[in-house]
C-alpha cells in the first residue's frame, strides 16, 4: 500500500532538488500576464513576514549542496572559508537564481557579509539588502534598532515594486507565519514522540521545501504530512535518541543525514532548519500591537540561542542544548559543523564543556555541503550509537 507521507516527501524532494527554482518562476507568473516577485534570503534568519507582507515570495537560498559542481565560485573566495558562499556565487553566475528579483543577506557572519558585497559587485542590477540583526538585546537599543532596520527593509521592498507594508498587512503576515510555526512545531513534536514514524531525512526534506514554497501551501503540506505520518505503523527500534547540532547554516548533504540514521541513531532534534524555527513562540499579535516592534521584541525575547546570536557574558553557552537534551530525552549529541564555519566551530568548546558538565555523551565531525564519502561518519555514528547503548551503563 502506498504511503501518502512518502509521496508528499517525493514532491518536496523534487522542489528542493530543482536548483533552477522552476516552482518559484511558476509562482511568479500570473494568469493575467502580470508577474509577481520573489526575494531570496540566506541563512540563518530573516523575518519572512516582512517579505510576505510586501506581496513577495520569500525564498531561502542554502546553496547547491552536492548537486552542483563549483567551478567559478571558487575563484571568488579563499580556500579557508566555508562552502556556502562559493556555492551561491556559482548558482548566481549559472543563472540558477534568475527567478529571484532580489536577495537579502542577514548578518550571520563575516563570510555572508563578504558574500553580500561580492554579490552586489557581480549583480549590480539585482536588488540586494544587508540585514543587520541586533547584537544588543536591550529593547531600548537593539529592539528599536532592529524595528527600524525592518522598516527600512520594508520601504526598500516597496521600492522594488512591492505592496506597501502597512501595519494591517504585516499583522496579517505574522498571523500566517504563526500558523506555520505552530504546525512546524507539531511535526517536530511527532518526531520527538515517535522518531520511527518521522525519519529525519524526510522531515529535513519537508522543511527544506518550506524555504521555497509559499507559506500557506507549505502549512497545508505539513498538515497533510502530519496526518499521514502519525498513522504509520513503523516498528520502533532499539536506537539511541540523539540531537544533531551545529548545522544551522551550510546544510549537510542528504546522504549524511541518512548515514546518521542508518548507523542506528534516532535524531529527535536538530538545528538544520534553525532559521525557520528561529522564533520559538507564536507572536499572537493583536490589532493594537505595532508589528515591526512585535517582530523585534520576539527576536530579543523568544529567539533560538544559536551561535549567530549575541550571548551575554556570564550565561554559559550550551545550556539551551542541555535543556533540549533533557526535554527530548536524548541520550547523546552529535555536533556536526560545516568545515570553516566560525560560528559553529568557535562555539563547540563551550558546548562540549556544557555537555561534559552534565555527563551527556557527544561526538563531533565536520562536513561540507558536497561531502560525498560517508564511511568515516558512518563508523563514528555507529560506534557512538553502540557506546551510548552498551557502555554508558556498563562501563
Amino acid at each position: 500500500m502506498s504511503d501518502p507521507a512518502s509521496a508528499l516527501i517525493d514532491r518536496c524532494e523534487a522542489i528542493v532538488n530543482d536548483l533552477d527554482h522552476t516552482s518559484v518562476a511558476d509562482w511568479k507568473r500570473q494568469s493575467d500576464g502580470t508577474e509577481r516577485k520573489a526575494v531570496g534570503f540566506l541563512p540563518v534568519y530573516v523575518p519572512r513576514e516582512v517579505i510576505h507582507a510586501a506581496g513577495f515570495l520569500p525564498v531561502g537560498v542554502v546553496g547547491g549542496g552536492d548537486a552542483l559542481e563549483i567551478i567559478r565560485g571558487d575563484a571568488y573566495f579563499q580556500s579557508y572559508i566555508c562552502h556556502l558562499p562559493r556555492s551561491i556565487i556559482e548558482m548566481g553566475l549559472g543563472g540558477k537564481l534568475d527567478a529571484l528579483d532580489g536577495m537579502i543577506f542577514p548578518s550571520t557572519c563575516d563570510v555572508i557579509r563578504n558574500l553580500s558585497g561580492m554579490w552586489q559587485l557581480l549583480f549590480p542590477d539585482k536588488w540586494a539588502w544587508y540585514l543587520d540583526v541586533p547584537q544588543n538585546l536591550s529593547p531600548r537599543l537593539g529592539g528599536r534598532f532592529y524595528a527600524h532596520d525592518l522598516q527600512l527593509m520594508a520601504k526598500e521592498l516597496e521600492g522594488l515594486g512591492g505592496l506597501e507594508v502597512t501595519p494591517e498587512r504585516l499583522r496579517g503576515s505574522i498571523e500566517v507565519y504563526d500558523v506555520h510555526r505552530g504546525i512546524t512545531e507539531d511535526v517536530f513534536a511527532l518526531r520527538r514522540e515517535a522518531p520511527e514514524k518521522v525519519p529525519t531525512w524526510e522531515l529535513y526534506m519537508l522543511i527544506r521545501a518550506g524555504l521555497i514554497l509559499p507559506v500557506e501551501d507549505h502549512s497545508e503540506l505539513m498538515v497533510e504530512y502530519l496526518e499521514s505520518a502519525s498513522k504509520r505503523t513503523a516498528k520502533r527500534r532499539d536506537n539511541p535518541r540523539v540531537i544533531v547540532a551545529g548545522a544551522f547554516c551550510e546544510q549537510p548533504p542528504m546522504g549524511l543525514i541518512r548515514t546518521l540514521e542508518r548507523a542506528g541513531c534516532y535524531i529527535v532534534e536538530d538545528d538544520f532548519s534553525l532559521g525557520q524555527r528561529w522564533l520559538r513562540e507564536p507572536l499572537r499579535i493583536t490589532d493594537e500591537d505595532e508589528p515591526f516592534g512585535a517582530l523585534a521584541k520576539a527576536f530579543l525575547e523568544h529567539s533560538a540561542q544559536g551561535a549567530t546570536r549575541f550571548h551575554p557574558d556570564g550565561e554559559p553557552k550550551g545550556e539551551e542544548l542541555v535543556r533540549q537534551v533533557r526535554e527530548c530525552e536524548a541520550e547523546g549529541v552529535i555536533l556536526a559543523s560545516p568545515s570553516f564555519c566560525d560560528p559553529s566551530l568557535l562555539d563547540r568548546p563551550m558546548i562540549t564543556a556544557a555537555l561534559d558538565r552534565e555527563g551527556i555523551p557527544w561526538t563531533g565531525f565536520k562536513y561540507a555541503e558536497n561531502t560525498g564519502q560517508f564511511q568515516g561518519i558512518r563508523e563514528q555514528a555507529g560506534t557512538f550509537s553502540d557506546s551510548i547503548r552498551l557502555w554508558s551503563e556498563a562501563s
Binding site: K235, D238, N239, G264, E379, G382, T383, R389, L390, S395
Partner: protein
Amino acid sequence: MTIAAGIDVGSGAIKVSIYETGPDGAETRHALVAERIRRRDPTVVTRESWELALKHAGMVAGDVAYVATTGDGENVPWATGHFYGMTTHARGALHLDPTARAVLDVGSLHARAMKMDPRSKVLKYRMTSQCASGTGQFVENIARYLGVPAEDVGARSLQATEPEMVSSICAVLAETDVINMVSRGIDTNDILKGIHMSMSLRFAKLLRSVGADGVVLITGGQSRDVGLLATLREALAKKAKNLQVEVRNHEQGIYAGAIGAALWGAWRHDYLARKEAS
C-alpha cells in the same frame, strides 16, 4: 533466559546466529548459518538465511526476543536494533576465545584490527584503506583465476616452497603481478603464499598500530584460511618482534559478527527489561 539472534550482512555472505543467554552468564548456541550471496539480492538471501537459522534452532520468529543486525544490515525490517561491525566482532571474538584481547577481522572488502579490553570494549582500531587488495574478495578472485577452489587456498599456500610477494597496496597491481607470475611459470602454491604474505604484512602493520597485546583472534570470512594464519605469524615474528601476540583462528570465526550481535542483543534486551521494571 533470553533468546536473541544476530544477522551479519556482509558484502560476500550473510551470517545468522541464534543464542540463548542465562542469568548466570551462560551462552548457549542454537543455530549458526552462513550463506554466500553469489550475485543474488542480499535482502532475499538474508530472509532465507534467517528462516533457515530458525529452522535449525527449532524456533519461530516470536521465540526470539531481540534480533540484532550488524554489517550492512541496517535495513533488515524485522530487526530490533543494529550494532556496528567492530562492536560485534569484538564481542563475538571474546565469546569464541575468552582470552582474546585483539581481533583481526578479515572480510570480503576490508580488514580491520581492534584492540579490546576483557569486556570486549574496543579501545583502538585501524582499518585497511579503500583498496580491496589483501581482502577476502581479492583472494577469492585470484583463486578463481588460478582454478583453485576457495577452500583449498590455505592448504595449498602451506605447501609453497619459493613464494613471491605481490603488491599489497593495489588490487589491480597485485592482479598484474599474479598474471606475470603465471606467465613466468611460478607454481600456483607459491603464488598463493605470496598473496598471503602480502596480506600478512599489511595486517601486521594494522596490529602494530593498534598496539595489539596477547591473543589475537582472526574473524571474518578469511578466518579459516590456515595459509593466512601461518604467514601472519611469520610476518609478526619478523616485522613486529616487539609485539607480544599470539595469533589464533577459530572454526567459527566467520560467525563472530553474527554471534557478537546476538549476544549484545540479548544484553540489551535484558537491560531494557530491567530498566522498564525499575
